[in-house]
Amino acid sequence: MAEYKLTTPLKEEDVRKLNLGDTVYITGIIFTARDEAHERLIEYAEKGEKVPVNLEGAVIYHAGPIVRKKDGEWEIVAAGPTTSSRMNKATPKVLEKYPIRMLIGKGGMSQEVLEAMKKHGVVYCQYTGGAAVLAAKNIKRVIGVEWLDLGIPEALWILEVENFGPLTVTMDAKGNSIYEKLKQEQKKILERLLSQL
């Protein structure tokens, strides 16, 4: 299991080489997007409208931060990952329409997402759920925010980060998923435990 320090925008070869269990730290820009920002990304693509951010080689962070305004500037107070599976339905479409390279979240995503990631050259990394203050410490500043009408948690926050991590590669761009491997093992354990009751 290797360790990588990657800088955004990510290139396809940056992420294709990553394997399950690798540790990654990101420096550069990341974008937060949850359920409603995903829906809006799709809406814009379907209407042929341009989104207000450049998603070439982008890192999408499934997160809805706590923010406050300090001396007229936005400050991220806490920003841990949210449950990624809520974005299962929208993600294959989003990856098809936008040149995104990495998703960061928690809990993993579906087989359909895994296939879309393989096709488009995208990896999924897990950050420890709830580790919101540690995450915020690696966010240097808020570059901007779009779609604030969706509410603070659902808006698209543009964040400058330095050594954001440790992130664990849990779904690679080759069709492998730690979640799928563990699910198979756990199924067997479950059968054994239930048969012993």
Partner: protein, 286 residues
């Protein structure tokens, strides 16, 4: 009782709950870190412990999902109207001053109120307790774990085996989504309003405190042991720390029913309790 006093105490409780985890939860997480054997599991638990320390040091909420606010109010003589208005005001003030993330939305329009209040929110549970003091517990509960909640109406013949089966299946199905290590709060029996209420009452019982009845206490320990054999592990990446505790509350139920509510609680088990005495003195309970 003085309305302003209740509001002030409730704001303190929300601040304490959102930033400082209860000592029983911190101890359980430290113990888990010491005993976990999976390398990834240890990394996750270390990140969690570092994050708890960073939150305390920087005076910031331990998790960005500061959840939906719920209060549990206990006492003998409760002035409902005064307390309700104080708790709503406290939620609005705490959202601004801590700050908490505004999470409360209309269920259909999804419009965010911006201050964590709305129709029937914050949730308030009125509980009778034969004391002259007023006891308030504030809890904040994120959606990641709440979304994994399960209700089963089992054929009564399935009994304890059925209960254990649905708990283990729910834990494996949920995987890393509820942010394990989790605490499983289970309501057993009742009619379903009561079944869920009991799961929530189990939630405010500290970790490591067993049910007063021996049979139920043993069942809690047994289920905890089995859950920790599933290899879901910290954040679902494998390991022997899947749950920090299992707590059960029960009620009698219909002879033809066996209702089971399983409410997942993430590792960030945020609750704080205070007692307001008739002389106005305030006692914070850890």
């Amino acid at each position: 009782m003085e309305r302003d006093k209740i509001e002030e105490v409730a704001i303190q409780l929300l601040r304490k709950a959102s930033i400082f985890l209860p000592i029983d939860v911190k101890n359980a997480l430290k113990k888990a870190y010491e005993t976990e054997t999976s390398e990834t599991g240890r990394t996750v638990l270390k990140t969690i412990l570092d994050n708890i320390a960073a939150a305390e040091q920087l005076n910031r909420p331990v998790c960005q999902d500061t959840g939906i606010v719920s209060f549990f109010v206990k006492g003998r003589a409760i002035d409902y109207k005064v307390i309700e208005s104080a708790l709503i005001k406290a939620t609005i003030e705490a959202t601004k001053s801590i700050p908490l993330r505004p999470n409360a939305v209309h269920p259909i329009t999804r419009k965010n109120s911006g201050d964590n209040t709305g129709v029937r929110i914050p949730g308030i549970s009125w509980l009778y307790k034969d004391t002259d003091y007023l006891e308030i517990t504030a809890t904040i509960k994120g959606a990641g774990s709440e979304n994994m909640t399960a209700l089963y109406m089992l054929p009564p013949g399935e009994g304890v085996k059925g209960l254990i089966r649905v708990v283990l299946e729910s834990v494996v199905r949920a995987g890393g989504q509820p942010c394990p290590p989790v605490i499983l709060n289970i309501g057993l029996g009742g009619t379903v309003d009561l079944t869920f209420k009991m799961a929530k009452l189990a939630m405010i019982r500290p970790l490591g405190v067993r049910h007063p009845e021996d049979d139920i206490a043993k069942l809690e320990s047994k289920i905890l042991d089995l859950v920790n054999q599933t290899n879901v592990g910290p954040m679902g990446l494998g390991g022997k720390t899947t749950a920090l505790d299992v707590k059960i509350e029960y009620a009698y139920c219909h002879t033809a029913s066996l209702p089971i509510a399983i409410n997942f609680q993430c590792w960030a088990d945020r609750r704080a309790t205070a007692r307001i005495h008739p002389d106005g003195s305030v006692e914070m309970i850890d």
